[in-house]
């Protein structure tokens, strides 16, 4: 080959590689880059150990004895996965029904906007995001409703990321983020006009405990909506395969025991809420929420190679490969959960704190 052809071939290959890795790769343009993957607030040399500890703590999610340690391990989980989620999935750490003709980003936004529409708040209202992650939903909801959103998350690294994103989006006058535990929230009672939680309360060992806190901080008459991760009426606890799928989901997502769909309304009523509406948003005519996970297979392999190389070069912390693989295996369990219909991440419950409320 003469040198011109060689040069052109080389340039074409380099361009193709760049496109495959850097353009096709990250979930968002100018979002998190693979070279910036970290273990959150965990220093690079401790990532491998933290992962090993996490993996053994959640070995039998429904039989965790030291439930008071769960918040610490949820915090560890999010230190390990936040960067990978932002890189590979986006700023909204939750699922949405797919919508024909709309991108994942748009479908996600619609799902988030629906949540705030359900709690019927006005511009200038103060609403609480329970388990706000890095604030993807918060930003969509603040711009859609013009309400003042306060987010709480147990993970300090996520608070940093959320504030950064809020500032970049020009929403830091409407959005605020506090580092705290939603089981013991640092807000006085009756201080919010509304509240929502998107796929976050699943991390609480007892649902009543987080619901009771939300009840306490809401004003009488205010509404709360939650998208819950639950097993459906198709789930059979005696079926070995069903049990395997659910345990796989619990272990890989820091869940101390997935609840059944019937447990949700029960917990809400127990703490004093009136249940206004309940619906599994994944049921038809909604399009599947798990197709996004399935389409990620090629992406997984590319990312796996990338993360392995970066780890080898010492750019990504040791242990990142294990975390990434855990998430891939978990994605497989989630997909199976969706396809069999035994699991849904979007059981919606809309609750009201009664006007003349007595705390339970």
């Amino acid at each position: 080959m003469d040198s011109l052809t060689l040069f052109c071939t080389g340039a074409l290959l380099a361009g193709g590689l760049y496109w495959f890795v850097c353009v096709l790769g990250p979930a968002e343009r100018q979002g998190k880059r693979a070279s910036d993957l970290s273990g959150g607030s965990i220093s690079a040399e401790k990532v491998q150990d933290s992962y090993n500890q996490y993996w053994s703590f959640f070995r039998r999610p429904k039989q965790i004895e030291a439930s008071e340690k769960v918040p610490d391990f949820v915090d560890t989980f999010y230190n390990l996965v936040t960067d990978i989620y932002e890189w590979g999935w986006g700023q909204s750490f939750h699922f949405s029904p797919s919508v024909a003709g709309k991108s994942h980003k748009d479908a996600t936004r619609l799902h988030e906007e629906m949540a705030v529409d359900l709690i019927d708040v006005n511009p200038g209202s103060r609403i609480l995001d329970v388990g706000c992650g890095v604030g993807g939903p918060m930003r969509a909801i603040a711009s859609h409703s013009r309400a003042n959103v306060v987010g709480i998350t147990i993970n300090e690294y996520q608070v940093k990321r959320a504030r950064l994103h809020n500032k970049k989006a020009g929403l830091d006058s409407l959005c605020e983020v506090v580092c705290g535990n939603f089981l013991e929230m640092p807000f006085p009672e009756s201080s919010f006009d509304g509240a929502y939680s998107i796929e976050a309360t699943c991390h609480a060992p007892k649902l009543e405990e987080v619901y009771a806190e939300i009840f306490r901080v809401l004003k009488p008459g205010a509404l709360y909506v939650s998208y819950e991760w639950v097993t459906t009426d198709k789930y059979n606890g005696d079926d070995a395969e069903h049990k395997e799928v659910i345990q796989g989901i619990e272990r890989g997502d820091a869940l101390p025991g997935l609840r059944s769909h019937v447990d949700i309304a029960e917990a809400a009523k127990k703490v004093g809420f009136e249940v206004v509406k309940e619906k599994d948003l994944a049921k038809p005519p909604s399009e599947p929420w798990w197709t996004r996970l399935k389409m990620g297979r090629i992406a997984y392999w590319r990312n796996h190679i990338l993360v392995t190389v970066l780890s080898f070069l010492g750019i990504a912390p040791k242990g990142t490969v294990d975390v990434h693989e855990m998430l891939f295996i978990t994605a497989d369990y989630l997909t199976r959960g969706g396809e069999t219909g035994i699991f849904t991440p979007m059981h919606m419950i809309l609750c009201r704190k009664p006007e003349t409320a007595k705390s339970s």
Partner: protein
């Protein structure tokens, strides 16, 4: 952390009956410019604990807020600008929020208040 946020935070340590307002220890205060939004301010006003805002802004070095506010003041642009400045433009970057009853310090670092309780405080 803006004073809008401070105005809604309280100490929830076990046994504490009055955890609001948290006292501010200001080590680093930063001013950040925010566009004035009169509707927002008028809407927010009834939800704000006024005395807490006045003393918090004083601790942060701003003493322009009046102790008492008659309703007619809400039509005064001069008052609204002061309210706006205290509520949204003063940021506590480094310091602490202190429980008024127990003295326990909740650190504020890089603008983030860490309100996580220790095991024995729950």
């Amino acid at each position: 952390m803006r004073l809008l946020t401070h105005n809604m935070l309280s100490s929830n340590i076990k046994g504490v009956t009055n955890g609001f307002p948290l006292r501010i220890e200001a080590e680093k205060v930063v001013e950040k410019q925010v566009d004035l939004n009169i509707d927002f301010l008028k809407n927010m006003f009834p939800k704000i604990e006024w005395k807490a805002l006045v003393s918090a802004s004083r601790t942060m070095g701003y003493a322009e807020l009046p102790e008492e506010v008659e309703p007619s003041k809400l039509d005064s642009e001069e008052f609204l600008r002061k309210f706006h400045h205290a509520l949204l433009e003063l940021h506590l970057e480094e310091g602490a929020l202190v429980c008024p009853e127990t003295g326990r310090r909740f650190p504020v670092s890089k603008g983030i208040p860490n309100m996580l309780l220790h095991e024995d405080e729950v």
